[in-house]
Amino acid sequence: MSWLESLPNYTAYGTPSYFIYLLIAILPMGISLYFGKRLVWYEAIISFLFLFFMFDGSSAPQMLSLIGYVIYQTILVMWYFHYRQQKNTAGVFYLLTFLSLLPIIIVKFTPAMVGHNSLLGFLGISYLTFRAVGTIIETRDGAVKDINWWKFIRFLLFMPTITSGPIDRYRRFSKDYRKVPSREKYLEMVNKAVKYLFIGFLYKFVLAYLFGQVWLPAVEHQALMYAPHLSWWVVAVAYVYAGDLYFDFAGYSLFAVAISYLMGVETPMNFNKPFVAKNIKEFWNRWHMTLSFWFRDYIFMRFVFLASKKHWFKNRNVLSSVAYMINMLVMGFWHGVTWYYILYGFLHGSALVINDWWLRYKRKHLHIKTNAFTKGVAMFITFNFVVFSFLIFCGFLNTLWFVKH
């Protein structure tokens, strides 16, 4: 495999030149869509070419893992789809879901268990897992009515969104993929794509650069001078990291959505002004939306549905609290098996429980009229809680307290 490793590697949306190559490569698709035709083969070849250059060079060892993973998930999904047309037993569904989750479970637990990364891992495994598991769940519900292996692989490996989402759904994706948008609609999508690309450049290459490359190392350095003690610099780390995380991820997501639009696929948006949220529930409807909606639809709602049907809980508020905690703890574990990711999940679960309790209490006992002032206070509290939770999430406290300097 040494020839693979000697080839150049291009990380998705990593450099300005990547955009130039990408835009040139997808231009024929755009022209063709404008004239009402989808260049299926051309699109497939270009997608696989760009994927190839994401996983060659220094990332070459990941390429085999990716190929193996895609074959494995495709077999599971196709087998289950055919099985589900005849039978529908809960046991088989849970087994298939578990098998589909197995690679990511191994990848996430390996570092904590043996101290190095699993060989099964590759960049984007989480996002591929969300797509595959989501498809299995919707097949169980009978919502996925037709599927073929080629379309499923194209969905799984959809090039603009492969490494970090946004997480689409099979049914939504294949609906877009089957049809060609009208000329008017496509021009509207191109319009948006251009706008998103420019906002993305501002976010990712200017603001995320300032927050993440210039300011963050500086404030971290200052904070570490006091290690293992806390200082005001830690507060600065929290705010600067929050800026970096948001602009970096929102910028990336805008690129992914913009490139999808140019290819005639309406990949869902990932962020919607998260820092104006007035409570933590609203925050999760605005922050990394495709992830939080995935958790909402496939974990929270399903757990509540099952628990309500089987009457596991007498009190509805207890049920929703348990569901919030499960939901956010699973999200914490998904980020990685470290104390700070799990604590992050725990904090957000608790915040959702407290928020729900407060909303009930306010409705019953207080008769506060909402106005600009109460909204401002609510936004301020929510924003600062979120920044605090990001400080936990970023792992800096782990470095500060537990890593020898």
Binding site: I137, D141, A143, D297, M301, V304, F305, S308, K309, R363
Partner: protein, 79 residues
């Protein structure tokens, strides 16, 4: 049917039926309905109207107002 659904919404959310007077109001945007209450509503609709609504089929945009819920339930009843 509309009144019945307003009643079920009140039960699912623990609010007064009077909160659901406007049948064109976006229930999700105003925070009247959250995921928890949505599931309670789905279960209640299943019992009341004998329809099957898997969570996968629940697309928020198709169930966002009382009028839309009434339409969806009628559709599913006829299936």
């Amino acid at each position: 049917m509309q009144e019945q659904i307003q009643q079920l919404l009140a039960e699912a959310t623990g609010r007064d039926a009077s909160d659901f007077a406007d049948t064109t109001e976006d229930l999700f945007a105003d925070g009247l309905l959250d995921s928890m209450a949505t599931v309670q509503l789905l279960l209640a609709l299943q019992d009341e109207f004998d329809i099957q609504v898997p969570v996968s089929e629940f697309d928020r945009s198709e169930w966002s107002t009382i009028d839309k819920i009434v339409d969806r339930v009628k559709e599913l009843e006829n299936e």
